[in-house]
Point group: C2
DNA sequence: TCAAGCTTTCAAAGCGCTTTGGAAATTGTT
DNA sequence: AACAATTTCCAAAGCGCTTTGAAAGCTTGA
């Protein structure tokens, strides 16, 4: 039997009879034969690989903990279409040159952009390279067309803040992510809009920006609690920071919910899943794993049909009521 | 100029004069030329790729949160040697068939085995496949030779438990990972040995095994605190569970350290780095990122020299004194 | 000046697949 | 039975590199 026939039988071409195909498949199964990836990729001119470039902040060597769950979602989708996932964790300053290298040596068929900034250079650069990509998040200051999957950050933080105001809180802190991250900016906007619409004026000192680690949640919460007029409620961008906040409250002998209300964004991380009947935290919740799945899907569609118009998928975070929000205590 | 010369110039062969090499390098830089990965891999017969298979527990869709930091360490090392990292997150039941598939289609030059169990089939299977690999951790019930990088789990949990006993604790709980994980078993052994050497007898109910999530830390701590003779100290395998434990203490109006002492294993995760002058938790600390670096290093060495004898690298976790351990309160 | 001995360059043969274009086998039609 | 139409198969070319083996260019010594 010729190489051609085998190749066609395995790749599901119609030119081969069903009988022959069965024979081939059986023989392949018997000898555990799988076409050599390297040869196949050279012959087809496709890499069958999606690149994920995750940046490790130089300063704190921090790896964004949501990326594991995001990738878990994406990986499942890639597997379905027999794509491989190429992962690289790099210091942020070499981010773009890594994309360029991947493109030059044609190592990937498409890439996912993680953690876009308000001013995101990579979007225009990838468009220039003509590399299919999808952004997890958006970038406000760009006029480029691009694929993205994002949650409605502005609206969900508006709602969260609004909820606190309706409960009677008038001094509300925001413990946010790094300021030049697009998601952080949008969340801050939603928070500010709620304050404004309710005619609440607050000094800038009620807002902190930092990497979303537990120690930073703790530190920033302490800073806010030490203000002359401490907030009675906090909104935060990460359940990991929320844990730090709880530690700070603890140290001040304050009880979560009763003394200080907290609403957190909840990415539904697998190791922090707040699944109790009454969740610990009132939260704006949106599964980052689902976002991974959707991003992968969108990217594979774009690769399959390069003429496709870029698409944006906006997920709406649910506002989940938990036990961390109560009306403020009378003074 | 011929293809041969260019190839040799770029790959640093001595057969090409320094002058020619410079010309080639400049031209390559100018046109941003990089040899096509696919063609190169076919020609050389190497994949220049390391596979990481991370299993997602079917039951809870849990992704082990330490893997992000581990991979950050490994990725840096791969980049140095121009290797790519192929990542796949799969349900545990297909774990081995994924390795087999990678081998059959020669997609990778080596793999890293994450989260080995006490009875780990994959080690023998990979040896049979003749696939270079390194295990992050060890497997107690195997006589195979293999490369591994592990921390001294037994000893560090022995020391942790011993410390609590020396402080005066006599009722000590263990909130551990899933029982068939090798690391969990070794830690339990260290804990048991300390109890035994100090003639402390305790019912099995003082030990819990579960996936290391925050909610599980909370739940298991509650269960132990509700025992007729509740423990005055806890040892736990994960800083994420420690957060759940703190929440449980909080709910019982118990103060960490003062009322209940806690020692946790601390993988030095980037988003939970307990870097205060006096750390929050007394901990057995060992950087999982460093383990990633060392694993990558060992694997690349093995690939470069296939005749190499398998090696084991045993890291010693430091016992870091924090503020979560105090003598028990007099009743 | 010429042969011997190096250094530098190159043409051609793979690597293990997919794909093309055409030949052989089978089926259907008259 | 003969031919056309269709189905099934195959030989050969090519994917873009690396590597081999040999040729060309350059030095050196007699």
């Amino acid at each position: 039997m010729s190489q051609t026939t085998v190749s066609r039988a395995l790749n599901g071409f119609p030119e081969v009879s069903e009988k022959t195909r069965q024979v081939v498949l059986e023989a392949a199964a018997k000898h555990n034969y799988k076409p050599n990836t390297r040869a196949r990729r050279l012959a087809t001119g496709k890499s069958m690989t999606i690149g994920h470039l995750v940046c490790v902040s130089k300063e704190h060597e921090m790896v964004n903990p949501i990326f594991a769950d995001f990738i878990a979602g994406a990986s499942a989708r890639y597997a379905q279409s027999r794509y491989d996932l190429l992962l690289s964790l790099v210091p942020d300053e070499v981010e773009f040159s890594s994309y360029k290298e991947w493109a030059a040596r044609s190592a990937v068929d498409g890439v996912v952009v993680h953690a876009p900034r308000v001013d995101e250079q990579r979007i225009a650069q990838l468009n220039d390279l003509n590399m299919p990509f999808v952004v997890h998040g958006r970038s406000s200051n760009t006029f480029e067309k691009y694929n993205w999957v994002d949650v409605n950050n502005e609206r969900s933080f508006f709602r969260a803040t609004q909820l606190l105001i309706e409960l009677g809180h008038t001094t509300i802190g925001l413990i946010n992510g790094v300021a030049d991250m697009d998601f952080a900016m949008r969340r801050a906007q939603g928070y500010q809009r709620a304050l404004k619409e309710n005619n609440i004026e607050q000094a800038d000192s009620y807002v902190t920006h930092s990497e979303m680690t537990e120690p930073n949640g703790y530190k920033n919460a302490l800073a806010l609690l030490d203000l002359p007029d401490p907030p009675t409620a906090l909104v935060t961008s990460s359940i990991i920071m929320a844990n730090g906040i709880r530690r700070a409250l603890d140290e001040h002998e304050l009880k979560l919910g009763r003394d200080v209300s907290v609403i957190t964004h909840d990415d539904d991380l697998s190791y922090f899943r707040d699944a109790a009947a009454v969740p610990v935290y009132t939260a704006t919740r949106s599964s980052v794993r689902e976002a991974g799945r959707l991003s992968a899907d969108l990217l594979l569609k774009t690769i399959a049909d390069p003429g496709r118009d870029p698409e944006g998928i906006l997920l709406d975070a649910e506002l989940i009521l938990g036990s961390s929000t109560k009306p403020p205590r009378p003074r």
